[in-house]
């Protein structure tokens, strides 16, 4: 008989009831609970990153592995626990992601092996299955590193072994397993110096703990969807940034400082607050608590009244977020850059952009990070490096978009531990043209080659004002004249912008091309731009003509001819 069959009306079960056996459906539900709870705490696990050890996405990897495992049994009505466990193990194996995912799949594999073809699991079998999990996990490595998920499964195994001597109740055994996992995770920094240096516990172990804790919470009927572990030190609360996360309807931000009369029941506190509003944060320091919440206008006093019942309020701060938002919007007139998010394992593109408009174009075409820089303001190696390091993936393609920046990009690529390919694009149009060939899920080498090839398919024109008198390539330039460059070479100089622009298109193989794209700079007015572009339209009626605000300094126009 399964847990759920014993309590058909409440799948969570009776917290005090004993459970001697578990069947396939019971296991399926527990795995689901483990997955949900792990997902809820995914970011906590991801944050346990020992930079720059290349395993900073443990939470995500474990969730994906558990998801793949659960998918195998999600719609199964199988009662036989051996079969269900086998399917779970199979799913975990096929969907294993990252190092922690591979180990997790081995844990499931051992677990399934112990239950092979059995109808149901009792306490003895549970202990045996955990043993087998440990053994299988350890078999996968010649030199096990202690202080990792391996140590945690070993400690769990020892704990359930001990607990079995006095008990044959599965719930108690699971409780012991969770306790042991928690204690073991807390010990990991003592075993692995690198964790101690970084001031974190092992992420894989913590992930395993969350899976087991999720199962236990399910059995006890506790919530799995909200993260209740989040009481932070007061100093760590970041309330000012929350204005950006405002949700419609939640117009007021209320912050209350209080001293509770008695020990705060955090789970109940969170649950009560969740009924009132969103963006809940609770901080604690020295017996003082600070609560932060977003609530709708009509409920703005409810949290204060509620907390009044819990203890003494020392301070209340209330702010109208809507008004705040309007203010913020007015201040930042330029639309925010919407960079393309990238997942670990995918290829990310970093683009160097000389102006806000061009930055937006790169962002909309798939760039995951923008470094500001151009002809007169080359970004430092360090700026480029920090862009690399801040991306959640280790496969990166950089578009320098200027011949003077290619070198800095190459230097950065050599210094970083990530895999970086530099596309030698010498101008913004080349960069954009390369970005059209970008495939986040492709092979880094192949994508980079493809993108490099795309550079040749575009001609770049640039219009700027000469800063000194000079003669290059047989073109005489007077200071202050308008000059035109084609693919970086000076081609003509003129007193008028009109002449320079049309002359440039003349020199380029415009006739053979189909599209002309203009990016106008911050030193030319919009009406002037329109007038000039109309001239071009007249001269090249068969061409597709596009106009974008580039916002670059010094250059009236950057032109892509393709």
């Amino acid at each position: 008989m399964s847990i759920e069959e014993a309590n058909p009306t409440s799948p969570a079960g009776n917290p005090t009831g004993e459970r001697k056996t578990l069947d396939g459906q019971g296991l399926r539900k527990l795995v689901e609970a483990g997955l949900v709870w792990l997902r809820t705490n995914q970011q906590t696990v991801n944050a346990l990153n020992v930079f720059p050890v290349p395993d900073g996405d443990t939470g995500t990897n474990m969730v994906l592995t558990m998801q793949a495992a659960y998918n195998e049994v999600a719609n199964s009505g199988e009662k036989n626990i051996g079969k269900v466990a086998h399917d779970i193990a199979q799913g975990a194996l096929m969907g294993a992601r990252g190092n922690s995912g591979v180990i997790l799949s081995q844990i499931w594999r051992g677990f399934a092996r112990a239950l092979d073809n059995l109808e149901a699991m009792n306490a003895d079998l549970f202990v045996q299955a955990i043993h087998e999990s440990r053994n299988t996990a350890y078999k996968g490595v010649v030199r096990p590193v202690e202080g990792t998920i391996l140590t945690v499964i070993k400690d769990i195994s020892a704990a359930v072994d001990e607990a079995r001597k006095e008990n044959d109740d599965l719930v108690i055994l699971l409780e012991k397993a969770v306790e042991a996992a928690d204690a073991s995770v807390k010990r990991t920094p003592d075993l692995l110096p690198i964790l101690k240096q970084a001031g974190v516990v092992d992420s894989g172990g913590k992930g395993l703990f969350f899976i087991l804790e999720g199962m236990l919470r399910k059995v006890k009927g506790l919530t799995l969807e909200t993260n209740v572990a989040a009481v932070q030190p007061l100093s760590a609360m970041q309330i000012e940034q929350s204005a950006e996360e405002i949700e419609p309807g939640q117009d007021y931000e209320v912050v209350v400082d209080f001293r509770p009369r008695q020990e705060l029941d955090l789970e109940k506190f969170y649950a009560d607050l969740a009924n009132m509003g969103t963006s809940i944060q609770v901080g604690e320091g020295d017996g003082m608590y600070r609560m932060h919440i977003h609530v709708p206008t009509e409920k703005r006093y409810t949290p204060i009244d509620y907390i009044m019942g819990l203890g003494t309020i020392t301070k209340v701060a209330m702010e109208n977020l809507l008004a705040q938002m309007e203010e913020i919007e007015q201040k930042t007139e330029a639309p925010k850059l919407s960079l393309t998010p990238v997942k670990p394992g995918q290829i990310a593109v970093v683009a160097v952009a000389p102006g806000p408009g061009i930055a937006r174009i790169f962002a909309s075409l798939g760039a995951a990070a923008i470094v500001e820089g151009g002809q007169t303001m080359n970004p430092s190696t360090e700026e480029i490096l920090s862009a690399f390091e801040n991306l959640p993936t280790d496969k990166i393609i950089i578009l320098p978009n200027n011949k003077n920046i290619i070198l800095a990009a190459r230097n950065s690529a050599e210094v970083t531990v990530k895999k970086v390919k530099v596309i030698p694009c010498r101008s913004v149009p080349q960069g954009i043209s390369a970005l059209f060939c970008y495939d986040p899920d492709g092979d880094l080498e192949e994508v980079a080659e493809e993108m490099t090839r795309a550079i040749a398919e575009v001609e770049t024109g640039e219009i700027t004002t000469a800063t000194r008198s000079v003669e290059i390539n047989g073109v005489k330039v007077q200071q202050g004249e308008v000059i035109a460059l084609l693919d970086g070479e000076l081609v003509l100089s003129s007193h008028s912008l009109d002449e320079a622009l049309l002359g440039l298109l003349d020199k380029a193989s415009t006739e053979d091309r189909e599209r002309i794209t203009f990016f106008y700079g911050d030193n030319i007015s919009r009406s002037e731009v329109n007038r000039l572009v109309d001239l071009v339209r007249e001269k090249y009626p068969g061409h597709e003509i596009e106009l974008h605000e580039g916002g670059q300094p010094n250059y009236q126009f950057i032109i892509a001819i393709e």
Binding site: P54, N99, V102, R113, V141, V142, R143
Partner: protein, 118 residues
């Protein structure tokens, strides 16, 4: 031999030293249960001398280190993920230890070890 210049002289690092580090970090990588000889001749030598650089090939092209690993993986693990992890580990460990950039880590899966049959 590779060298990194520093103000008071040069530091020379042998391929063997790099191979040893690579070999050790490969073996502590999850899913890798052994390293394998590249070819039969090397395999025979291995029988006679216990070599700490077995299954690792290191090359250097003036600027970057390239490493080839010949490994045996535990049957029943996801090979692709194990191979990715081992190449990351080896690259990280070698770069950290020697301060030289590693441009390539090629992983050759030479076999699988079956320790349990499901």
């Amino acid at each position: 031999m590779n060298d990194s210049s520093n103000p008071i002289g040069n530091i020379f690092v042998s391929y063997r030293a790099i191979a040893t580090v690579a070999c050790q970090s490969a073996l502590s990588s999850y899913g890798v249960v052994g390293l394998a000889a590249k070819n039969l001749a090397e395999g025979l030598v291995q029988v006679l001398v216990k070599d700490p650089t077995l299954g690792v090939d290191v090359r250097f092209d003036d600027k970057h280190i390239k490493i080839d690993l010949y490994i045996i993986i535990e049957y029943g693990t996801r090979i692709k993920e194990v191979a990715n992890t081992v190449s990351e580990n080896v690259r990280y460990q070698v770069e950290k230890t020697f301060g030289l950039p590693v441009s390539e880590v090629n992983v050759h899966v030479r076999g699988l070890r079956i320790s349990n049959i499901d």
